[in-house]
Point group: C2
Chain length 178, copies 2
Amino acid sequence: MVKRTLPLSRVYRLLEPGPVVMLTTIVKGRPNIMTLSWHTMMDFEPPIVGCVISNRNYSFDGIKASRECVINLPTVELAEKVVGCGNSSGRKVDKFKVFALTPAPAARVKPPLIDECYANLECKVIDTRMVTKYNFFILEVLKAWIDPAKKLPRTIHHLGKGAFMVAGETIQLPSRMK
Amino acid sequence: MVKRTLPLSRVYRLLEPGPVVMLTTIVKGRPNIMTLSWHTMMDFEPPIVGCVISNRNYSFDGIKASRECVINLPTVELAEKVVGCGNSSGRKVDKFKVFALTPAPAARVKPPLIDECYANLECKVIDTRMVTKYNFFILEVLKAWIDPAKKLPRTIHHLGKGAFMVAGETIQLPSRMK
């Protein structure tokens, strides 16, 4: 997928609608993928993102040790792979191989981008004070990529137990909000 | 709107798809409303929610002092009121009056439910350690309400600058995820 750089000031527009994301990390020298929905924007620029990575997940040790990850945004075409990654563990399988996903080199961090995802956010961990109690990592987005051809990405939004809402129509209202 | 109690174990299914929410607080003795999208689930049960309330918002002092709020979930029918609440300040207007929204008493906290919202989560602040640096409040949901008639709520999801994605179709995949 051919992507261009996305200005960091626009990253919030990707994450605040709440899409399911696929987080890539390096664990024990190998790239791993984790599916998650528990993330939030925390500041506009530089973009700060908070996310929960349970200490039961294989990715937890990876991000704790390397302090780097990539947040990859899939669309509905990838839904089966998204769920597959959520239902398997990097302890047992190489998810890039099993789900036929393509790792692409990142510019600023070691974990790979998932090429099939329409946007990718390269992140470093900047605050771990909430990790012990809440498994909550605070990240800064260093570099963002987007496929400019994807005008209205049909992101997926988890409703629990394998049900996903698919992004519908877009409406525009007069607003002074960012 | 006639609502029933929602089991706390199901609250995550409302928030993890990333809807715009309207937060009610008591500020200087009066109820106020704030529109926000920067929230995330942090634990299942009891449901723990993190959210950013900027210290520039009138609600900030209210929640800091009273340590209580209600997270109200609107659907697309309320979109104009949602944006209106986001574009005005409780310092200047009574948003319940200006936007013709109905305050309804909560069971466990002082801030009111917004009756027109299809779900309402009564919350107390349980952790303020991230407030000074990130304006990030950690909340526990004490009591949750839902309109059982709203089977597929058309929630709205902010894309920036007054554009909102409206919840589209729902798909079901075989999943072992919660």
